[in-house]
């Protein structure tokens, strides 16, 4: 890193007392200069006096003019160098007087005198302009921190370092662009950063600068400077408050020509950098103060995670259709300018049956146009566990835009995803399965049953079948019958009237049958006696009375008591009377008559049976 361009050591505003070297009689030259023609009050300036010549060492110390009215003496340093030029020895002795400006205005520095062999050499007077504080002249505070000058150097403000910031008030995480520029009026052959400021409290993003610094020319206070940017850095303040950027220190080698050189054509031939002296100088920038403001609380979105700048977000899936348990990639790209490096992955709102893994993060950062910009890519691997058409909710990202001093929220458009069933066997999905469960999955289901069992109608159940109802009702009915039978049996054995009543019909019909058998036998008496027995026994059994002593009238009364219809009683009694009559009547009774009568009797009997 060298300035290959020759820089003339031009002295502006410095009056040179030039004593031509006519003969051997005069062989010293006295030169006086101030390093800055314009300075601010309380600033330091240097009055350099150079005495050169073959015998310069024998000259007296320079006698300074009275400067108390506007400057305070701060100290002196001297140096001496000996050179052999064109066979002539040249000695150069320099005195650097440091002064602090104490009064504003334009002041004249009177001639400096040096005595040599009784002769007085005086320089020409110079003027210096001291400006009021607060209105610093353009070349103010070059941040020059000169190391004690090496012998013969008279660089003054020929090299200085400047730290330029693009703004002094920023928000937290809003970048400050700092450029470190070296200003020089001499040929700088090499330089190196000897001390980097520790950007404590900042996140620093270094800009890549070309190997060979581009130089520009700048005129400051009438002096032409070559300017080169040696370091450019974007600083992201990490905390709030006043921050001081510590100075950057650069050590450089500059080439300085012997000032005593004559300006003739011949000499300028040798006026090249290689012939000049090399001076090492350390220069440092001055500290810069930066005020860091906190981000406003007002309108801060809940999802805000510290991103400051200007961003856009986009998301994409590598496939729109996937099978269950297959992986797909969800790519989220956040691009823009700002503190990209510290961006945290945006929060995903996925349906519950998605398995996600930590994202793969890639970033590409550009340093174009004095901005730190680029993109950060988050790649998520998603594994859907169940099938269906799923819409992934928009992914939102919020950041603070310093320019508009507001928070902004950007979001992606929703992504549609169709998940179909995969081909693999069921695998363990819902997490939290124990090892034993997992081992079980390796097994298969049991085989189907092949032995055919009888089929039945769907929904048919035993408790709805007729068998069930029959089994429920039949026992009850059976029991009822049994109970009835038992009661009957009991009555038969204990109740005479019941037993006779139950027997009445049977006995009567026995007698009637017998009578029917007698119809064609020409035995009228026996026939009528049998019918009478049937009728009498029936009533006797039914009414539980002894039939032997039964009289017709008595019988009728008893029947009337039983509420038997008179008609029925009459028919019955009539039959009985007919029997009585015919039993004792003489003569043959015709078969027809008997047949008719037996019908009559059985009819009467039937009616009576119904009535009782």
């Amino acid at each position: 890193m060298k300035f290959r361009e020759a820089i003339r050591f031009t002295v502006v505003g410095v009056a040179m007392a030039f004593t031509p070297m006519f003969a051997q009689s005069i062989d010293i030259a006295v030169n006086a200069s101030v390093d800055q023609a314009r300075i601010a009050l309380q600033d330091q300036f240097t009055l350099s006096i150079e005495v050169s010549g073959a015998d310069a060492s024998r000259a007296s110390e320079p006698k300074l003019p009275a400067m108390e009215s506007f400057a305070a003496y701060a100290g002196v340093s001297t140096s001496q160098s000996i050179q052999l030029i064109n066979g002539r020895m040249s000695v150069s002795k320099s005195y650097n007087y440091a002064f602090i400006a104490t009064a504003a205005g334009r002041h004249e520095i009177g001639p400096v005198t040096v005595e040599y062999k009784g002769e007085k050499f005086a320089t020409q007077p110079m003027t210096i302009e001291i400006a009021q504080q607060g209105t610093p002249p353009p070349t103010q505070q070059p941040g020059q921190r000169s190391t004690p000058a090496e012998p013969g150097t008279d660089l003054g403000n020929a090299i200085f370092l400047k730290a330029e910031v693009d703004r002094r008030r920023v928000f937290q995480n809003e970048p400050v662009l700092v450029r470190y520029k070296i200003y020089t009026r001499v040929t700088v052959t090499s330089f190196g950063i000897s001390q980097l400021p520790n950007f404590s409290g900042f996140w620093a993003e270094d800009f890549q600068l070309p190997q060979q610094p581009r130089t520009t020319q700048e005129v400051i206070d009438g002096q032409r400077y070559l300017v080169a940017e040696i370091k450019k850095v974007a600083l992201f303040p990490q905390s709030v408050g006043k921050k001081i950027l510590q100075p950057l220190q650069v050590e450089c080698e500059a080439q300085v020509q012997n000032r005593r050189r004559s300006r003739d054509l011949f000499d300028s031939f040798f006026d090249d950098p290689f012939m000049a002296r090399t001076v090492r100088r350390a220069v440092a920038s001055s500290p810069v103060e930066i005020e860091v403001e906190p981000l406003p609380e007002e309108g801060k979105p809940a999802s805000f995670a510290g991103a400051v700048g200007n961003y856009t977000i986009s998301a994409s899936l590598d496939r729109a259709a996937v099978k269950t348990n297959e992986a797909i990639t969800l790519k989220i790209v956040i691009s823009g300018a700002g503190n990209l490096r510290v961006l945290s992955p945006p929060k995903l709102e996925l349906p519950a049956d998605f398995e996600t893994y930590d994202p793969k993060i890639d970033q590409s950062i550009n340093y174009n146009n004095d901005r730190v910009s680029g993109s950060k890519t988050f790649e998520y691997v998603l594994v859907p566990r169940s099938a269906g058409n799923i819409e992934l909710k928009p992914i939102t990202f919020s950041f603070f835009e310093p320019r508009s001093r507001t928070y902004k929220i950007v979001s992606t458009s929703p992504l549609a995803l169709s998940v179909t069933k995969g081909t693999e066997e069921f695998v363990a999905v819902g997490g939290g399965l124990s090892k034993e469960d997992v081992r079980l999955i390796g097994q298969d289901i049991r085989f189907i049953t092949t032995a055919p069992l009888p089929f039945h109608a769907i929904g048919a159940a035993f408790h709805r079948s007729p068998i069930f109802y029959a089994m429920s009702i039949t026992p009850v009915l059976a029991l009822g019958l049994v109970l009835l039978y038992r009661r009957h049996q009991e009555k038969l054995s204990t109740n005479e009237a019941y037993r006779r009543g139950r027997r009445a019909g049977r006995v009567a019909s026995q007698h009637l049958r017998k009578a029917r058998g007698l119809v064609g036998k020409h035995d009228g008496k026996a026939f009528y006696a049998e019918v009478q027995r049937a009728l009498m026994s029936f009533i006797g059994n039914k009414l539980n009375v002894a039939e032997a002593g039964l009289v017709t009238d008595e019988l009728a009364t008893m029947l009337q008591e039983r509420n038997v219809a008179q008609e029925t009683i009459d028919a019955y009694v009539r039959c009985l009377q007919t029997c009585d009559m015919k039993r004792f009547a003489p003569g043959e009774i015709s078969e027809n008559e008997m047949r008719e009568f037996i019908e009559q009797a059985s009819e009467a009997l039937e009616k009576m049976e119904r009535a009782l």
Binding site: P351, A352, D353, R385, S386, A387, G388, K421, E425, F426, V427, A428, V429, G430, G432, L433, D437, L440, I441, Q443, I445, R446, F447, I448, T449, T450, A451, P452, L453, P454, F455, H456, A457, I458, A461, F462, H463, I467, F468, M471, S472, T474, P475, V476, A478, L479, V482, L483, R486
Partner: protein, 249 residues
């Protein structure tokens, strides 16, 4: 006339049963050959004809499982289990299928008494309980009748001895039978058949999403409204879901 009808019905029933048996064997052959879709169709055809037994449901569940239709597999295993709760094969396959169900619904702890009572009330299946109840009923009455009619001797002594024990056993069987009948008529269950279903707080598509269920989850079916079904999970969560994604056991 009525007799004729019954006879006809019986004949057609037996004809259907024969057809079902043929289809069943056909379906089993498909299954054994790995043609699960064909097997499924054949088993479904048996059910569509109105005939069933637990084996059809079990085999159909297997066929669905082989086709990775978890919801249907579980549904038919549950149906098979309802018909034959004591089959170890059904329980094994149902458990295996349930492992793959995504949702894990914690079963709230029950007191020991409730567990004991529940076990006791399900010690026999509904069918067996019905048979036992009916048979013990008949037995009790037979013993009673014998007791009433027999005059001394072995029969009477025996019936005398067995009469009251049989009544006690009958009462137990009847309680189990009655309880299971009540349970069956008042608690209905379903299986989620869609791979993912959002359960809402009300029977409407715009209602708040309460939770999500996945294929194969067993839910209790409560009231229905329009095309929506109110469901309840084991842990007491309640919500609505479209009825078409549910298969009733």
């Amino acid at each position: 006339m009525k007799k004729v009808f019954i006879v006809l019905a019986l004949i057609s029933q037996s004809a259907l049963a024969d057809e079902a048996t043929t289809l069943f064997q056909q379906a089993n052959r498909y299954y054994e050959a790995g043609q699960y879709a064909e097997a499924t169709a054949a088993y479904e055809k048996i059910l569509a004809s109105g005939m069933e037994n637990w084996q059809v449901h079990y085999n159909l569940g297997n066929a669905y499982f082989k086709q990775r239709q978890l919801g249907k597999a579980i549904l038919y295993y549950e149906k098979a289990q309802a018909l034959n709760p004591d089959s170890e094969d059904i329980r094994f396959n149902l458990d295996l299928a349930n492992i793959s169900v995504i949702d894990r619904i914690p079963v709230p702890p029950r007191s020991l008494v409730v567990v004991w009572l529940d076990t006791a009330l399900h010690v026999v299946s509904l069918r067996l309980a019905a048979i036992l109840t009916a048979a013990l009923w008949v037995l009790f009455f037979i013993l009673l009748i014998f007791k009433l009619l027999a005059r001394g001797g072995l029969v009477q002594r025996l019936s005398q001895r067995l009469l009251w024990p049989s009544l006690v056993v009958w009462v137990i069987a009847a309680i189990i039978f009655g309880w299971q009948l009540y349970e069956k008529s008042s608690y209905r269950y379903g299986i989620v058949l869609a791979s993912r279903v959002v359960v809402t707080s009300a029977p409407s598509a715009v209602a708040t999403e309460v939770f999500t269920l996945h294929e194969g989850v067993r839910v209790q079916l409560e009231a229905a409204s329009g095309t929506y079904q109110r469901i309840r999970l084991v842990d007491g969560k309640v919500g609505w879901m479209p009825r078409e994604v549910l298969g009733q056991i």
